[in-house]
Symmetry: C2
Subunit: 492 residues, 2 copies
């Protein structure tokens, strides 16, 4: 996306839904240019039936905010749009306003790479209501998918139990940005490398690759192909064995490995990309060991996900590394996080105080959390998180460690340990407060956070629910507000 050197900054602002601009014009016309708003970006359920998500994409938010502006070409396009009922969709005065537009928001966020849980604000945006509204789509487009794919990658990496996992997903991603997002987020979440060269160039992620079946088929015999590859890439030689027959491929790899030894080189690895990977990897390991080639590593690929990786290792498959493509890049079987961005408080120029708001719905689980929120994450003595408390200082009952379940007004619990503020202030008045974390910093944070997350929450099947709740003052206020809104169809 724009957030690489490859794009003109201008594209950031039109990478949005039409209604953001229609609403912006509405606010502009309704005398609300100076109204302040607070929006929260959050998701409602952990993806993949798991117990957590990895906050990702955050590191690119400051750049998005700073580059958000409309150039002449954008304005010309917007001025060309007609309303369905006739006339121009956008008024000249509003377009002039957009021409000079700069974002003046403040942004707080869970640090990139840290753990995020359902319904708590992952990102909080505060500032002029127009600015906040205009940021919605681009922000969600940036963090929804990266958070989802980072979470998927963390699961696959965990299943691999320390063995390297490489992202092979570019060809199944949604265009170049999709591929870059997959590579970036999965590296942050623990993948060791990517096949995507552009991601290597732009983000400094280690790149990895072997060869394709076409390489083998381009030569008269598989042995010819293996020899040619070993000659061309002796220091980076991983042979793909399943073009014709894996057992013959193993023999050919042994022949080439011995020839390489004679030249003072070593065949570093082989890859198997089809068939029964457990059976074939065992056969390969046995053959290589018997041939005195114990150093040849075994890599596998072919529609892998966390469950297949887990199953292969449970079968004792002697696999040294995994290439994971399609199911990582598409986050199969749950390709969307469903992250949303909801108004939680508004303050017009005539008000001194924030007016907290919430969305009600026939579907109770779509009910939002009102107010200006921040999060305290409690940690035990080993720095392991014990629960998150969502707080609105203006209605807080003060120091407490008791939270109320967001979905159940009768369920409360006390969080053990010591609280720390979770969200960081990353943008002030439209400008980054500091340099965003490097991808390596985000990766380190993620590793640390996952390591300290209770195993019962990390597990794939029926994970324990990590406690996230409302500080009691906020809980009471929310209950009251829901009743008022429901009866009045509005805030007052």
């Amino acid at each position: 996306m724009s957030l690489t050197d490859k794009t003109k900054p201008t594209d950031v602002s039109l990478n949005t839904d039409l209604y953001e601009l229609t609403m912006a014009q509405g606010f502009w016309e309704s005398g609300m240019v100076d109204a302040q708003a607070n929006f929260n970006a959050f998701f409602r359920d952990n993806p993949f039936g798991g117990g957590f998500a990895i906050a990702c994409g955050i590191g690119q938010v400051p750049e998005l905010v700073e580059n958000f502006r409309f150039d002449d070409e954008d304005i010309a396009y917007l001025s060309s749009l007609k309303a369905p009922g006739g006339g121009a969709m956008f008024k000249q005065g509003f377009l002039d306003y957009l021409r000079d537009f700069r974002m003046h928001v403040d942004v707080w966020a869970i640090p990139e790479g840290d753990i995020a849980f359902p319904r708590e604000p992952m990102i909080r945006v505060q500032g002029p209501v127009i600015d906040c509204q205009l940021l919605e789509t681009a922000l969600l487009n940036l963090v929804n998918f990266q958070t989802l794919v980072a979470t998927k990658a963390a699961r696959v990496v965990r299943a691999a139990e320390g063995r390297p996992v490489s992202d092979f997903g570019l060809r199944r991603a949604q265009g170049p940005d999709g591929g870059l997002a997959v590579a970036r987020a999965s590296y942050i979440a623990g993948c060791s490398s990517t096949s995507n060269i552009l991601a290597g160039k732009l983000y400094g992620i280690p790149v990895f690759g072997t060869h394709a079946h076409s390489w083998v088929m381009a030569f008269p015999t598989e042995l010819d192909a293996f020899r040619a590859f070993a000659k061309s890439s002796p220091k980076n030689c991983c042979l793909l064995l399943d073009t014709y027959d894996v057992y013959q491929g193993i023999e050919n790899a042994i022949t080439v490995a011995k020839e390489m030894e004679a030249e003072g080189e070593r065949l570093s690895a082989i890859r198997i990309d089809s068939g029964d990977l457990a059976k074939l990897s065992k056969a390969a390991r046995k053959a290589f060991d018997e041939a005195g080639l114990p150093y040849i590593k075994i890599s596998v690929s072919n529609d892998l996900d966390e469950y297949l990786v887990q199953s292969l290792l449970a079968q004792g498959a002697p696999i040294d590394s995994f290439g994971v493509g399609t199911k990582l890049a598409t986050c199969d079987p749950q390709p969307s996080l469903g992250g949303v961005y909801k108004l939680s408080a508004i303050r017009t120029q005539f008000d001194e105080d924030w007016d907290p708001v919430m969305k009600i719905s026939e579907q109770g689980y779509k009910r939002t959390i009102p107010g200006i929120q921040h999060i305290k994450r409690f940690y035990d003595i080993d720095d392991c998180p014990t629960g998150d408390m969502i707080i609105d200082d203006s209605v807080s009952e003060g120091e407490s460690n008791v939270i109320q379940d967001i979905l159940d007004a009768y369920s409360t619990m006390a969080l053990p340990g010591t609280p720390r503020e979770l969200m960081q202030h990353i943008v002030h008045d439209g400008v980054r407060t500091c340099e965003p974390p490097s991808i390596t910093e985000s990766r380190d944070r993620c590793r640390y956070a996952l390591m300290h997350l209770d195993p019962t929450i990390r597990r794939f099947l029926n994970p324990q629910t990590y406690p996230v709740g409302l500080e009691l003052g906020l809980a009471k206020f929310r209950g009251k507000l829901a009743q008022e809104e429901r009866s009045g169809s509005g805030r007052n």
Copy 2:
């Protein structure tokens, strides 16, 4: 992506898997710079359990080929890469070769918007083996997802039975490119508009939007919010009713509609985004009709897909248009087409004839089709396709209408009707042969093709299998080659 005006052409070439470049270097070093290759891009199964796919992304292939080059920055990055075993990953001579690299391929493809079926070549690339190999990842990254999402969109549009369907998927897509790909492909497949403004600007797709819940929550009451929106956008006024209580929202919409009438305006539509859409849309229709406002249209959204749309209409829900986001943009529940790109023939500088090749595998369904193929699609007297024949002229038995099943060597059938060549020659020696079709032309072709596809093949549940098979000479040749390769682990 690159294929808009927003990107420097250089990004095209590094938007690839490392192994493409490793192999390219290998071919370069193995004296195969002048070897010619033929690759086919195809998919193995129709997505979504359906009976067809829409070929999409093809219209952007010529630009991809023409812009494929490496600039100094790319070369500098590649020269910085180290091989795992030590030393530079790429040799200076090869990097010099890349510096002057231009694609010299020829490309044939099923026209964008037309129907494609499993295993037949959707795109055929022929030219120097290095060029063909380097194109693989970027080509798949371009056409895999667009073909998938076009197919999904065609299904949703069909379910809507003529009612407009708008793409709302940007916020759940994989970054800006993903959003653009969704908008472009779904418009080609029959969607009437998109919420994505950048797609509107770049591709000329009609843009559509209403307002969000945040608009309502930003005002003291829902009625205030509706009035403000009506005042700001009287010619483009669609009110969202489900922020607090839909029934109260209906009453408020009626109030505002009457006020608009007094001003000589009309409330064009309302939208419902949660709850029981069948029940609520009926309640809204009834209330509007009773209030003498039969012209107010009803639009719905909320995790819609083809099955939900179908179910709503089957229940008699009086819905006029659909906004489809998440499940369109992520192609839920099948987020990947699994499209591949396989070598099917090779010719070294010492050969006069092509050497057809095929990939065998433990998994029989991964067996490819060898040779230089083209497709004849047979049409009946009403221009409805009756079946596709895959032909390699060099082994063809001549005029015939009999095909053999690709997966079953014993099953043959005769195709009725008259054959026409399906694939078009879109790139010659690296340069487009003509201007790619406009997005409108692709859309018209798609509409025509779908209209003429047998309803038993278009249906969602257990569709009939459209006949695609091998011309008998190719079928025999393929059987022979499979046996030779299996026994010899190579082509000869």
